[in-house]
Subunit: 382 residues, 2 copies
């Protein structure tokens, strides 16, 4: 049996089932903002004549044609010209990571990442027996010169990035650096995986085109309905260059034949019948208010010498406690006070900083955020 | 990039989209027998208060508790005592194959199979860089003495079997051989994957207990709603010994976090509200009639010297044309006559028999079966 490591975030979700717990741990969308009526109607439509039986049957691996057409239009309108035939629908964008790992990595292959980064991506690459190396960065994301050096020294097969509102740091790679990363990828036959679940959740500033717009040949762009509609649907997609898409389709065939026909059909129906832009505007307003509530309270919650981000979008605030702090110890105390977060160590591929932690500001109302942060303050004082 | 091979069945599904085509190729359930009204009501219930928001949210990897409880009860009633905690819900039972390959196989590991066998399982094991070896068998499935010899000679990590109404042959492993296979597995630390999507589709004879009932420690049993409810839901499950289940759960976490929350909730609702036994009885009656219609016509369709099975259950009739025949050539002619099937070669791990082919009898009505077989007769005479 191969040794595998559980995801600390998933394990924490177990602990945070206690109804009295206020959790800033999981990257969960706010459930009260789900469009329940819209989705109930969409499933009813998907399971109505004349197409109900088709939506309960096996279906092509590539995905529902109407859903792929919608995704292509939306990506095009976001500055990434896309045809439906560029797309593969995936069972959440998490699946895209495993498909890419299975298709592109051989044991011992090198994967470059920003650090810290999405821990379930690290888990995927580790399960593929890849060797993970970190690319240095700053508040504007990875440094192209650091990437050039890593390419020279380590010959990575793949670079994994969340370029917009990164998990866990909230950082966004600048337009200039996107172009530089794409140019390096093209010059060095490097695959870039652009994981973009949060890009539409921008609360200030001007949207940037996806990194994939800077290279037709080397960037695989991943998107998802999880954060802008509902994660329980497990609907994501990947947009891949023609040289690699057929391999990814066959890899998905073996993985689960295709994503739920009825969920895809319901999504196509939902997106045709509803104004997603208006729904996302509602999410942006609510999440902006929640971010502001959290950022406003942090100076009185965190000990002197702490630092934290004030992200332009996404779901997370990244905190660094003063030198010598250990956020895993803090978590144990915090759970006793009925408040949860994710210690930062799990997000590091190489050398963890034990003083870091991640707070999600999207799941809870501002009243819960206030209550939870007061509990956290109590925990930090003990 | 790793070389991958497409599944001929999936590629054929592309060809068989032509509405004039009568396809005996895909293992598709009969769409007119889907309980559309029941599933529409189930999704409406899953997306109603008080639990609608929970069913659109992220969920535990292991699966919906109510669905796991139902599966455990059903497996127990089929002669396989099962607790909900023995189970992992998968995105179709196809996903279980990839999870098992990822968790249990290292490159070069040996996988033993009956031959011919399910081609997408072969594809999974090949993508895991396993070496596949065949175990000799007869009309009652693999021979335990042949398995003992393969264990001795090849030291397989895993044996893959469809013990009940095998795909593509329709064969069923006898009770005595099940016990012998389980004993060999326990004595030799061999994993046995019992893939059982068809077991409930029995048209004559007495049900056998699953092979997993013969070993608490070495058999991973896979089940699915695809053939008894609807494949578009992509709902399957695996029942694994406690020594391997946690590893499979973590592997699934990385693969897609969890299976669609709403699909699982709808299934739990459907199975609580409807008499699945009565639905399966309807399927059995319809499929028995279709099998009989096909078996009755085959003597006048197939050339003299052909042989074919008359299966007790499942979805497939396995045909061997006379020596010298090449079913891939026949397929090309048949497609011109607007009738499709799967050439047998794809189902062989080692030495294919080009004279074989698989006919599915479940997808088409008896009138379509008659029409399609007349077309096949024409093709075979050309």
């Amino acid at each position: 049996m191969r040794p595998v490591q559980s995801s600390p975030v998933r394990d924490l979700l177990e602990l945070t089932k206690d109804p009295g717990m206020i959790s800033f741990a999981g990257g969960l969308p706010a459930p009260e903002l789900f469009d329940v009526d819209g989705w109930r109607a969409a499933f009813a439509d998907a399971l109505s004549e004349p197409h109900a039986r088709r939506h309960l049957q096996y279906a092509p691996t590539e995905g529902d044609p109407a859903l792929r057409a919608w995704i292509a239009d939306r990506q095009t309108s976001r500055g990434l010209p896309t045809e439906p035939t560029d797309l593969l629908v995936t069972t959440g964008s998490q699946q895209a990571l495993t498909l890419i790992a299975a298709a592109l990595l051989t044991p011992g292959a090198v994967v470059a990442v920003e650090e810290p980064t999405y821990l379930a991506a690290l888990q995927c690459f580790r399960m593929a027996d890849a060797r993970i190396v970190a690319v240095a960065g700053d508040e504007q994301g990875i440094l192209p010169e650091a990437l050039a050096e890593v390419i020279e020294r380590e010959h990575p097969t793949l670079l994994y990035l969340v370029p917009t509102f990164a998990n866990p740091t909230g950082r966004t790679l600048t337009a200039d650096r996107r172009a530089a990363v794409a140019a390096l990828a093209e010059a060095n036959d490097l695959w870039v995986v652009e994981d973009d679940p949060y890009g539409e959740l921008r609360y200030r500033g001007t949207p940037l085109a996806p990194l994939a717009a800077d290279s037709d040949t080397r960037v695989i762009n991943l998107g998802s309905l999880s954060k802008i509609c509902a994660p329980g649907l497990r609907l994501g997609w990947l947009r891949a260059p023609a040289s690699v898409l057929p391999t990814l389709v066959v890899t998905k065939q073996a993985a689960d034949l295709h994503t739920s026909t009825v969920d895809q059909a319901a999504a196509a129906s939902y997106l045709a019948a509803n104004d997603l832009e208006a729904h996302i505007a509602t999410l942006r307003d609510a999440y902006r208010t929640r971010r502001d509530a959290m950022v406003e309270l942090l100076p009185e919650v965190l000990p002197a010498g702490s630092r934290w981000t004030d992200p332009d979008g996404g779901m997370f605030i990244w905190v660094r406690l003063p030198d010598g702090a250990d956020s895993e110890t803090t978590l144990r105390v915090a759970l006793g006070e009925q408040v949860a977060f994710v210690p930062g160590t799990a997000f590091y591929a190489t050398t963890p900083d034990p003083a870091t932690l991640r707070l999600s500001f999207t799941t809870n109302t501002t009243a819960e955020i206030t209550k939870g942060l007061h509990r956290l303050a109590t925990a930090l004082r003990r």
